[in-house]
Amino acid sequence: MKSLHLLFLFILLLGACVKNDFCIQPSAVKTVVRFKHMDSANKKVDLSINNITIFLTDSSYLYYDDISGVNQVQLYLRPNSNRQEMVFKQEEAPFLSDTVAIKFESTLHFISNGCGYQYYFKLTELSSSHHLIQEVAITSASVTESIASENIEIIFK
């Protein structure tokens, strides 16, 4: 009987420990865009670009401003939109810039009470001009908090 009462007191103390909701998830998801080109064997290989400026047309933020050795960019897509355009400009030939248009769908995804909700995206369509860029393709359409190795590949000439 005494052991039952001791067990009760132990459970009481356990119940008194309340875990607060806290969040360790990243705050917004990113779309990973990798740069590639075709080598002499016509095989796709990663590419580092020099003197590149990358920005979105609907934001004043510059992802890269005349930076060298860039092989990818991680974009934040706008949740209350379904289309954004990304501009690539090489400072060596500023008249040869390309615009990549990305179409997507956004949905609110519940993470936890502590982290709340976050927007996830599904890439639906991709197109570009072709001054610097040979081809664009969606490699992984789902953009979630698990950062994919690649969502979009851009193959440069």
């Binding site: 909701d21 917004a28 934040y76 709340g116 927007y119």
Partner: protein, 207 residues
């Protein structure tokens, strides 16, 4: 010898189901509700004799809760029912003795209604914003193992305690916007969860 023979021949009254019934409330939940800013709840219990060592139990109640974190805020109201049995350990020491320890099993279910929730969505690039999540309702079930003790402190007045370990059967129903307090279960973000009760009961019927 004649007295022993006559004692053997005295027929003991047969126990009928629900001969003795107890009803009461959980005092600890009333105290916790008064002290908490996040929830208020009431839990009631009804039990009746089924066999000499087993009682059938029904419990019910309701709760209101507020959940506020840095990212979401909403209110819930819920009502629950639990059914099960308590198996008593000891034989009565005398006729009408109801003091006993027990172990029991319950199946519980709660219906919860959530108000429209406000979600604060953090976006370092385009600016954080608030979004409204539509209200919804749902029913969730759980099983629990319980143990406890009942003691008759005055004629037909009982005090007792229970400890409970419980786990959801359909936890997906409660995954999104988990209430800080679900009637009958407690903190719904805990799986499994542990809980306790302190009952005050009144009994009536034939012992």
């Amino acid at each position: 010898m004649a007295q022993a023979d006559s004692a053997k021949n005295v027929s003991r009254p047969t126990l009928k189901r629900f001969d003795y019934v107890r009803m009461g409330f959980d005092a600890s939940k009333l105290i916790a509700s008064a002290l908490s800013k996040e929830y208020s709840t009431i839990e009631l219990q009804l039990d009746g004799t089924y066999t000499k060592k087993m009682n059938v139990v029904a419990e019910g109640g309701w709760a209101n809760a507020k959940t506020n974190t840095a990212s979401v805020s909403f209110k819930t109201s819920s009502a629950f029912l639990r059914f099960g049995f308590d198996n008593y350990f000891f034989n009565p020491e005398f006729l009408g003795d109801k003091d006993n320890a027990f172990i029991g099993l319950r199946l519980g279910g709660a219906r919860q209604n959530k108000t429209e929730a406000t979600a604060h969505i953090i976006d370092p690039f385009y600016g954080s914003r608030d979004s409204l999540i539509t209200k919804n309702a749902g029913t969730v079930f759980w099983i629990e193992l319980t143990a406890g003790f009942r003691m008759e402190v005055m004629k037909n007045i009982f005090l007792g305690w229970n400890i409970r370990g419980k786990t959801f059967i359909n936890p997906k129903k409660i995954e999104e916007l988990t209430p800080s307090y679900l009637a009958g279960y407690g903190n719904a973000s805990k799986q499994p969860a542990f809980d306790y009760n302190l009952y005050v009961l009144y009994g009536f019927g034939r012992r």
